[in-house]
Symmetry: C2
Subunit: 363 residues, 2 copies
Amino acid sequence: MATDTTTVHVALSERSYDIEIGPRLLPEAGRFIVERTGCSHAVVVTDSNVESLHGQRVVESLERAGIRVDIATVPAGESTKSTSHVDELWRLMLEFAADRKSIVAAVGGGVVGDLAGFIAATYGRGIRFVQIPTTLLAQVDSSVGGKVGINLPGAKNMVGAFWQPAAVLIDTDVLNTLPLREYRSGLAEVVKYGVILDSDFFKYLEDHIDGLNNREPSVMRHIVARCCELKAQVVSADEREETGLRAVLNYGHTFCHAIEAETGYGTYLHGEAVAIGMLCASRLAEAMGRIDAELTRRQHALLEALGLPLTVPDVDHDVLIRAMQKDKKTEHGKLRFVLPTCLGHVELVSGVPADLVRAALAG
Amino acid sequence: MATDTTTVHVALSERSYDIEIGPRLLPEAGRFIVERTGCSHAVVVTDSNVESLHGQRVVESLERAGIRVDIATVPAGESTKSTSHVDELWRLMLEFAADRKSIVAAVGGGVVGDLAGFIAATYGRGIRFVQIPTTLLAQVDSSVGGKVGINLPGAKNMVGAFWQPAAVLIDTDVLNTLPLREYRSGLAEVVKYGVILDSDFFKYLEDHIDGLNNREPSVMRHIVARCCELKAQVVSADEREETGLRAVLNYGHTFCHAIEAETGYGTYLHGEAVAIGMLCASRLAEAMGRIDAELTRRQHALLEALGLPLTVPDVDHDVLIRAMQKDKKTEHGKLRFVLPTCLGHVELVSGVPADLVRAALAG
C-alpha cells in the first residue's frame, strides 16, 4: 500500500480484520483482496449508479490480479434490499459456480454492502466478504460492524446476520464523485462520532470546516480513519449488540427513525434525519438537566456550517412520538434515548416522559 | 426432567448447549424451553405430517408454560427447503411480531430443522432456536451440529448458516410413530457412528439387533444419546467444517450422494443410500489394503439384520463416478473418500483411482 494510507484494525478475535484507508486505492483493490484472502474467484456486487464509476475499475483490478471475476449489478436504491434480490443473487452465485474459495466484494453504499454481505453470510453457509464502500456514510458507518441484511415489507433490516468482512478497502478519492447532498449526509454521522465518543475529534471538525466542505484529501483520510477507529472500538466491545454498549451509536437515531418513517423514506437522506435527530436529542438532554445549552449550540453551529438541515419537519409531533414508541428497539412503548452527558460521552436513558420529548421536537 | 433422561452437553464455548434425551419429553417441552431460554414467545415450525402427531402437543405444552405461541406448518418433503418457503416464513415471523425474546422451535425431521433453523439464524439477525427432532435421522444427525439451510435448484444445502440451537429436546417415544422404512433409514446413520468413531458402540449394535428392530425404549435412549455424544465431540472440534475433522461424518456419503442424485432424490431414503455407500467405501478401503474383509462383512451383516438395502442400484457405474467427481466437496474432480483403517477409525483419502472406485461399486 502507498505511504499515505492508514490502517485501522478491528479486533474481534478470530474475526478480526483491517480497514485500509487512503487515496488511489481502487486500482489496487485486486492485489489487496487476493493478498488478504487468497481467493481464486470474486463476485463483485455493485449497483447501477456505481458500476460504471467504480465497479468496473474494481473488476479490472481483480482481473489484473489474475483471478476469475463475475459482476452482479443491482438497481440503485433502498428497495433493492429485498427478498427477491436476495433470491436472484443466490441463484447468480450458483451460476457463477461460487464456492468456498470465492469472495463477495461489495462496491457501493450501504444498500449494496448490506445486501452483498447477506449473500456472503448465507451462500455456502458463509463465504468471505470484502467491503469497498463508495459513499461517506458507508465508509464511516455501515462498512464497519458486520451488520448485513435486507428489509421486509414495512420492517427495515428485519432479516440479516452479523457477518464480519475479511477486509475493508476505503478509497477516499471516490468521495469526490459523491453528489453534494449525499456527501453532507455522511458528514452528519461523522459529527455524531465526535459527540458520542471523542471531544477532540469534535473540535477537529470545528477547526476544519473549510477542509470538510472542500473535501480536502488529508481531512477526508483523517475523518474516515477516526470514525472507523471509534466505531471499531464500540463494535469490538459489543459485536452482536448484546451488552447495550453498541447502543451509543444510535445517538439521534430514535428521532431520526421517526422522522424518516413519518415523512416517507427518501424525503430526508439518512444523515439529514440524523442531524435533526441529534439536535432534538441534545435539547432533550438539556431539558433533563444533563448538559448545558452550549453543547447544543456547538452541534447546531457545526451541522449548520456543514450544510445540514436543522429543523424538525412539519409533521404532527404526537405522530412522531407514537412512531418512536413503536421503534423496534423500544420495549413496551417506553421512550428510550441515547443522550449526551458532556461532549464525547452519551448514555442510554429509558422511560423519558413524552412531554419532554414533545418540547425537544418543538425546538 | 424425569430420571430416565440423558443429557448430552455440546461444548462450543459461548454457543454450548444441552441435548435432553428420553421418553415422554414432548409434553414437557414448554417448561423445558421456557426454563432454558426465558423466551416470552415461541414460533413452532412443523410440517403437514408432524403437526397433528407431535406439533400440536408442543404448542399446547408451550401454552401451558404461559407464553404466547404461534405455529407455522409447511408441506412435508425436501422441496420445502426452498427460497419461496424461506420468504413466506420470514413474512410470517413479522406477522407474528417475533422479536429478540421469541424463539423458533422446529418440530419435525431434518427438513423442518434445516428450514426453521435458517429462519432463526436470519430473522432479526438471529434469534434463539430449539430443535425437537421427530425422526431417528434428525435425532442422531441433523439436530446436532448447527448446520441449517435450504436448497437452490440443483444444489442441496447451498444456502444456509452455522447456527447452534439454544437447546435440543429428543423424545424417544416419537420413534414409535415412524414408518418402518424411515426408522430403518435412521439406523444406517447410527451404524455409521460405530464404524467411524466407536468400535464398542458398533459391538453394542451387533448385540442388540432385536432391541433395535423392536424399538425398545432403553435401546432407543442409548443409541440416540451415544450418537449425539459422538457427533457433539466431532462438532466441538470443528464447528464450521474448517479443519477437515468434521469430514469423518461423511463416511459412505460420497457414494451415497451419487446414488441419490443419479436415481433421483426420493428413490432411496437418505439412510438407505448411506448404507449402500458405506459398504462401497468399505470395499474400497479393502481394495486399497487399508482394512481386511472381516470389517466389510460385519457392516454387511449388521445393516442386513436391520433391514437396510445393501446392493448398488442398476445405474451405469461411470455415471456414478462422474457424479462423485462433481460433488461439492471434491476439488478439481479428484475423487476423495472417508475410509476406515479399523473399526472405529476413518481417514480422509484423496486422489483415489477411478478403477478402484469402479471395482467397489461392482461389489
